[in-house]
């Protein structure tokens, strides 16, 4: 594995910032640590960079031990590039000199050639003679990326790379950055609190909470097979509906008996909370099951309706936007589950 973290733990005094963190990242893959602020994701990243030591566990890159309880290889020797949240460009150097900064071992000509090559990669050759304060935030971000990539690091770390940019720019730039990283076959690990960004950028995403990595998986699996209740809640939209396992293929709920593969951990008679995503609740005018609309949010292509159940529980559903219902209307829906995602009741 290109990057491997085994049981990494980092404490600040009594607070445990990161604990028991395991993850692996193959060469050329883009990984992402996702979580609310204060979940420890930035600390984990700084441990990989070597700016934080680890209190236990190990970090390896290309099989070389970088950090353990007793070893902390100096950051400068790790061959790891980093893109900082505020970019941290050197204000006294031009764009070109910023990018060439890490190439100090090369001869002057080679240094300049490589720096220009990197600027071409991020399409900023025209800005080479400008100073950081003379270019836009999006451009600064790309300069920071070019600077980090220039010395051909084994691994690139990106700390909240888009949080200082406009929403519009974020979406565009995250795809662009992914393309650039893929173009040079870089292995990267980024940190963000924005799941759209994580899903757009990363091949593997880890959801973190309170210093723990809850799940490390492809985005599709995080959404459809969340391993923990926190992941189910944090990723995407959805509601939990109380229910009871009837058999290996059926669950009893307020909406009647629902069919789908029940996770093997549950036995008939177990009381569960069943995850229902908006895409599990289909709009069906012919369905005998009708529910009252209590909230609606117009989102352009579709409406997100909130539907009330007699017990007071709610369901969410996405409906194409030409079906415009008023609050209080009853609409017909059908539940379609492929597999069941459920957690012990109240857990």
């Amino acid at each position: 594995m290109w990057l491997e973290m085994r049981g990494v733990e980092r404490r600040f005094g009594r607070t445990v910032a990161v604990s028991g963190l395991d993850l692996t990242l193959p060469q050329g893959a883009i990984g992402c640590l996702l979580g609310p602020s204060g979940c420890g994701k930035t600390t984990a990243l700084r441990c990989v960079a070597g700016f934080e030591p680890v209190d236990s566990g190990e970090i390896f890159a290309r099989g070389r031990l970088l950090s353990s309880r007793d070893v902390t290889a100096p950051p400068a020797t790790r061959n790891i590039g980093m893109v900082f949240q505020d970019y941290a460009l050197f204000p006294h150097l031009t764009v070109l000199d910023n990018v060439a900064f890490g190439l100090h071992r090369d001869a002057r000509a080679a240094r300049e050639r490589r720096a220009l090559e990197m600027l071409a990669l991020v399409r900023l050759e025209d800005c080479r003679a400008r100073y950081p304060h003379e270019i836009s935030g999006g451009q600064q971000q790309r300069v920071a990326l070019a600077r980090a990539l220039a010395p051909q690091p084994d691994l690139v770390l990106l700390d909240e790379p888009f949080s200082n940019l406009d929403i519009d720019l974020r979406g565009r730039l995250s795809l662009e950055v992914r393309e650039i990283l893929k173009q040079v076959n870089a292995t990267a690990l980024l940190v963000t609190h924005d799941q759209n960004e994580a899903f757009a950028m990363a091949d593997l995403v880890g959801v973190m909470q309170n210093g723990r990595l809850e799940q490390w998986d492809a985005p599709y699996d995080l959404y459809h097979r969340p391993a923990t209740r926190f992941v189910a809640d944090f990723i995407g939209q959805g509601v939990f509906l109380p229910g009871e396992v009837l058999s290996a293929g059926t669950v009893g709920t307020e909406l009647g008996v629902l069919a789908g593969d029940v996770p093997a951990a549950f036995r008939p008679g177990d009381r569960i909370d069943l995850l229902l995503r908006p895409d599990d609740v289909l709009y069906d005018e012919t369905s005998p099951l009708t529910l009252q609309v209590t909230q609606k949010a117009f989102r352009g292509a579709d409406f997100l309706y909130t539907l009330a159940l007699p017990s007071g529980a709610v369901l969410l559903t996405l409906v194409p936007s030409h079906f415009d219902h008023s609050l209080g209307d009853r609409i017909g829906v059908r539940i379609e589950l492929d597999h069941i995602v459920a957690f012990p009741r109240g857990g």
Partner: protein, 556 residues
């Protein structure tokens, strides 16, 4: 995670290995020059010499306290009015010549109070150009109020004209940072434009104005040269006469302790108002978009007010200085002047080097090991800007003399009769230590703020690119610190050029500088002959103002 960016450097194991172990100790050593004199002076209160005290409280203190309070009240009031109203005019309004006055009203900072003082006294004295001309044309001159009258109006006006720029500068940046929006908000709530200014803009600027006024108060308490020219007996002058006239160290110490009570009050006021200064929404250009256009009579009233202050505080005294300097250059300008200038240069230059070097060390110590101790010591070390030079000089001379005796005793015990005689208290070392105590804050400010602009992320970016240690200092820190270091050096240099009481009290025998020459000429009433050395001091003083206005232009 923006909070993490501003957090102090991580106390990681990797960094800890590189921390100088005695960081706090180093900061402590650098704070000593400012702290020791204060302790010596505070200590003198506990070892009160009753005989001296009886004399002081009977014959000296009543006059000195009254004079100091009167001077303080007058100068504070006058500078607050002049500084704030001029700042309002140039920052918010528009009138003929506004762009010029915007920076020109800072020029009086280049003229030390004592220079303005002797020009004013020389000009208005009985034998001065004004009264002589009046007598020649047959106009009676006796009705003119004597500028050096005992009630102190003259010294109050002169010192206010010299010090108002402090208030002007801070009030101006307050008004500029407020922006127009708040005034407009007030007007939508039914206030007239004028009422909005009084009820919103002025109260919002109050912390800035208070900070400026408290700086003025400190400068007033510290002033020695101006009151000497006016022969107006305040604390600093009394300390100096106790020192040189009565040769009484304990009288000087006790007066210094008393003066420190006033200084602490001013310092408290300054710290309190500084902590309330918050930089507004950053819409610095907001007033510039649409200034309040003054119309009709008020246009010219504003113009006249700004012109009058500019003429009285800068242009006229400067021209008079040049005229006098030229007039006496022929007879006075001889080889001695080369000596005065070289000694000024040597003192100011070495003080600038020593103080900036100390500032760099102190700034790095507080950066590498941010903690309660280093913070405390850097605060204490930079406290000297509030302490009058006379107080510092006396407070440093006494422990230096004590240390010197110890050293001498030790030398004698080792070398016997062959021991070399040492006289530390009258050496350049003492002068430089006293300068450092007084001006460390002046050098530290720009150095520290430029160091703080090098964020932790910038350091880590360099490290992650394989550039560490000395290479990082050379390639990243030094280029980014250069401006701060240069600014600090220039500011210290000019302040030392102007400095009078510390130089007078602690200089080695024969070390007469330009400022000392000005003092000697003015004590003899040779106003015109004091102009020659003063011109050089004023010209040097123009440097930092150019720096200041340039930086102001950058910000705008």
């Amino acid at each position: 995670m923006t909070a993490a960016v501003a957090a102090p450097l991580p106390q990681s194991r990797w960094l800890k290995d590189r921390q100088p172990t005695g960081a706090a100790l180093l900061a402590f050593a650098l704070a000593l020059p400012a702290v020791v004199p204060l302790l010596v002076i505070a200590g003198s209160l506990f070892t009160l010499d009753t005989e001296v005290w009886a004399h002081l409280s009977r014959y000296v203190l009543p006059e000195v306290v009254l004079n100091t309070v009167r001077l303080l009240a007058g100068v504070v009031l006058l500078t607050a009015v002049i500084g704030t109203s001029l700042a309002w005019l140039t920052a918010v309004c528009d009138f003929p010549g506004r762009r010029f006055f915007d920076w020109a009203l800072l020029l009086p900072l280049a003229i030390p109070g004592y220079v303005l003082a002797f020009v004013a006294v020389g000009f208005l004295d009985y034998s001065g150009p004004l009264q002589s001309a009046m007598r020649e044309t047959g106009v009676a001159s006796a009705w003119l109020p004597a500028i050096r009258s005992a009630n102190g109006w003259g010294v109050i006006v002169v010192l206010s004209l010299a010090l108002y720029p402090y208030v002007y500068l801070l009030a101006r940046s307050a008004f500029l940072s407020q922006g127009r929006r708040v005034l407009e908000a007030a007007q939508t709530l039914g206030l007239s434009a004028r009422a909005a200014a009084w009820r919103v803009a002025l109260p919002m600027a109050r912390p800035w104005i208070a900070a400026g006024v408290s700086l003025v108060a400190m400068e007033t308490l510290a002033d020695f040269g101006t009151v000497s020219v006016f022969n107006y007996n305040t604390f600093t002058k009394a300390i100096y006469s106790a020192w040189f006239g009565m040769f009484s160290i304990s009288a000087a110490l006790e007066l210094a302790a008393f003066l420190m009570l006033f200084v602490l009050a001013a310092l408290w006021l300054e710290r309190r108002s500084r902590s309330r200064v918050r930089y507004g929404g950053g819409r610095s250009g907001a007033y510039a978009e649409r200034r309040i256009e003054l119309r009709g009579k008020s246009r010219w009233l504003a113009f006249s007010a700004a012109s009058l202050v500019f003429l009285l505080a800068f242009l006229l005294p400067f021209l008079q200085l040049v005229v006098w300097a030229v007039k006496h250059a022929g007879t006075d300008l001889d080889v001695r002047y080369v000596g005065f200038a070289l000694r000024s240069l040597a003192l100011a230059g070495s003080a600038a080097c020593v103080i900036v070097a100390a500032s760099v060390v102190l700034a790095y110590v507080t950066r590498v090991q941010a903690g309660p101790w280093t913070t405390l010591f850097s605060r204490l070390g930079t406290l000297g800007y509030a302490v009058p030079g006379t107080v510092l000089a006396v407070g440093i001379f006494v422990p230096m003399a004590w240390f010197n005796n110890l050293l001498q005793g030790w030398l004698v015990s080792v070398f016997g009769d062959a021991a070399p005689g040492v006289y530390l208290q009258g050496s350049l070392v003492t002068v430089l230590i006293a300068y450092m105590a007084r001006f460390l804050a002046v050098g530290f400010g720009p150095v520290d703020s430029s160091l703080q602009r090098i964020t932790r992320n910038i350091d880590e970016a360099a490290i992650s690119l394989g550039v560490t240690g000395v290479a990082m200092l050379k390639r990243v820190h030094l280029p980014l610190l250069r401006t701060g270091i240069a600014t600090g050096a220039v500011l210290v240099f000019v302040d030392v050029m102007k400095e009078m009481p510390i130089t007078l009290i602690t200089r080695p025998f024969g070390w007469d500088t330009l400022a000392v020459r000005v003092f000697e000429m003015t004590t003899e009433g040779e106003w015109e002959r004091a102009a020659l050395p003063a011109v050089v001091i004023v010209l040097a003083g123009l440097f930092p103002i150019v720096l200041l206005t340039r930086r102001g232009a950058h910000v705008a």
